[in-house]
């Protein structure tokens, strides 16, 4: 049983004070200051008066910024869906592999996740750019196809035009999927691994096909895992800074990039603070929705 703190006051104080004090001073206070600034205005180059104004929030819902919020939500949503489409079969295959293969595959999925995010994004640039790998492979196929067509007497395809795979929204989505795929696979795997297999076997025995079994047995059973995978991918994708910054073009700015600009270049801290808190509220809404879905599926189960 848990002790009440009164039973061992000295021990409780020794254990509880350091983490709580740290969390308060170096996390909650900074956030509170930002929150205060979001209700303030610039009164000089380095002074901000907290006046209780809502002007910053009003500015944040102007069409220009609403569009950026909308775009961030769409990009993060698309990333999540793509991660789910790729991640689900992979997680399924891993969950039903032999124990040894399973351990290796999990390690292989997790290793990039331990690797530095910046390095991974940088590595992706080298693959996607105009004289990068993907284009080199496409060019090889193109020239091969062209030669083949000339051989059978058709019009050759002409010169290869490299695809622009970098510095646009597609690149941002590819980059986000690349970075967040392990986040999706791991919770999906743990949900599928815990699942009661006899239900799947029953479904297959009773004549349902694999697709039908996966859709009407596995997916509902793994719903909580799917929900947490979606959440754990969606939240960081929504607040992504580095990927749109390095892989995106001029029109692929996401909220985080706008926030960074307010703090580092435009020097409009109150507005940046308001945008940060709006992003945080969006995150909390996503968590609340996930909790709701989870509770609903638990009640059903």
């Amino acid at each position: 049983m848990e002790q009440t703190w009164r039973q061992a006051k000295a021990a409780f104080a020794a254990i509880a004070v350091p983490p709580i004090a740290w969390l308060f001073l170096f996390f909650l206070v900074p956030l509170a200051v930002v929150w205060g600034y979001s209700l303030g205005e610039n009164t000089g180059p380095t002074t901000i008066d907290v006046t209780g104004t809502f002007a910053n929030y009003m500015r944040a819902v102007e069409p220009l910024y609403l569009e950026i919020f909308g775009k961030s939500l769409i990009i993060a949503g698309l990333t999540t869906v793509l991660c789910l489409i790729v991640g689900f079969p992979v997680a399924l295959a891993i969950a039903f592999a032999s124990p040894k293969t399973k351990a290796w595959l999990l390690l292989l999925i997790m290793l990039p996740f331990w690797t530095n995010l910046l390095i991974r994004t940088f590595a992706l640039i080298a693959v996607l750019r105009e004289n990068g790998y993907v284009n080199a492979i496409l060019e090889w196929f193109w020239n091969g196809g062209s030669g083949l067509m000339a051989l059978v007497g058709l019009q050759p395809l002409g010169d290869f035009e490299p695809l622009t795979l970098l510095y646009n929204n597609t690149a941002v989505v590819i980059g986000l999927v690349y970075v967040h795929l392990p986040f999706m696979v791991l919770p999906l795997y743990s949900a599928l691994d815990r699942m009661d297999r006899s239900l799947m076997e029953a479904s297959l025995d009773l004549g349902a096909g694999h697709m039908r079994t996966i859709w009407s047995v596995v997916v509902p059973l793994a719903a909580p895992g799917i929900a947490s995978g979606v959440l754990i991918t969606f939240i960081p994708a929504l607040g992504a800074y580095l990927t749109p910054d390095l892989l995106g073009g001029t029109d692929s700015q996401m909220i985080a990039n706008v926030i960074e600009r307010q703090f580092k270049r435009a020097n409009d801290w109150p507005f940046g603070a308001a945008l940060s808190f709006l992003l945080m509220y969006l995150t909390f809404i996503a968590i609340a929705v996930q909790a709701f879905v989870q509770r609903k599926s638990e009640r059903r189960g």
Binding site: F12, I15, P89, L92, A95, W114, N116, L118, Y241, E260
Partner: protein
């Protein structure tokens, strides 16, 4: 473990199977569409990284054509004073962050596991915040904090000038440690603690000799997590780093902004190798630990 469900079903045969046999109904990994999918995913995940590592040995500046093997870029990277300094800074911060995070995380885990106290839900909720709050929000919060509320003294001698970044890293790393350690504590038999106290051990003695040994695998996993989180972090560091406190990711970022040289490839390869070794060591320690620490 999880495969027991398979073997218990009549008609599916034993656990060992000849490779030529038809795949069992649930052996999804032995079906070609899923094999293809897993293979393609692994290629997608690893091709960029492996390319990066291979081309760090390339003589050509342009990455796409292989021209010859060289160690030049490594030499250049090692002679790049500021890159080296950034690397040392990153490792120092990661080390300090790990030590502080493990202590704070372990205390937080024990607090939440052992005690009932008023406001526990609030503390638990706030403890989860650094895990869920977007990095950028935490970054600007740290920027504002160290610019206006508690400016970190300028011009401190070397490891001390990294204080602001270290504090910021600890703030997001220790709740992760707390989560991992708390999961480990769930399997602790509370009677052991009571027994130790009945036999006359002090509060401190019980903590150190009974609870800490049980927590050890969690502490190691937490330490590994804190170290990599700190080493990996770009966004929060970007907002707290000053001109003379540059970490490796921040340095690489500024190098990328100017020009992509294979020097960056070389430096990245070193960091990847460091990470892989650390992960291997960590996993090894975790695998060995529980066996000889069975109390």
């Amino acid at each position: 473990m999880a495969d027991q469900g398979l073997t218990s079903v009549p008609g599916l045969g034993g656990g060992k199977r000849e490779p030529k046999e038809k795949p069992g109904p649930l052996e999804y990994l032995r079906r070609w569409p899923l094999r293809l999918m897993v293979g393609a995913t692994l290629v997608f995940l690893y091709l960029p990284l492996i390319t990066l590592m291979i081309f760090s040995f390339n003589t050509s500046r342009r990455n796409v054509v292989w021209q010859g093997f060289t160690f030049d870029w490594y030499e250049k990277a090692f002679n790049n004073e500021s890159l080296l300094q950034a690397f040392v800074n990153s490792l120092t911060i990661a080390f300090l962050c790990t030590v502080i995070s493990v202590i704070l995380g372990a205390l937080a885990a024990v607090m939440l596991w052992r005690f009932k106290f008023p406001g526990k839900t609030v503390v638990e909720g706030s403890m989860a915040l650094p895990i869920v709050v977007p990095e950028i929000c935490m970054g600007v919060a740290m920027l504002v904090f160290f610019a206006r509320v508690m400016p970190w003294p300028m011009g401190m001698p070397w490891p001390l000038n990294l204080g602001a970044i270290t504090i910021a890293h600890v703030s997001f790393a220790f709740p992760f440690v707390a989560t991992v350690v708390r999961a480990r504590l769930a399997s602790f038999n509370r009677e052991l603690e009571e027994a130790a106290k009945d036999l006359g051990a002090s509060e401190w003695r019980t903590f150190w000799d009974v609870l800490v040994p049980h927590m050890q695998p969690g502490l190691i996993a937490g330490a590994l997590l804190a170290f990599t989180l700190s080493l990996d972090d770009f966004v929060i560091t970007f907002f707290t780093a000053g001109p003379d406190t540059v970490t490796f990711p921040v340095k690489v970022y500024s190098m990328l902004r100017f020009s992509v040289t294979p020097e960056v490839n070389a430096a990245s390869t070193i960091l990847i190798v460091v990470t892989v070794i650390l992960t291997a060591v960590g996993l090894q320690m975790q695998n060995n630990e529980p066996k000889d620490k069975k109390a």
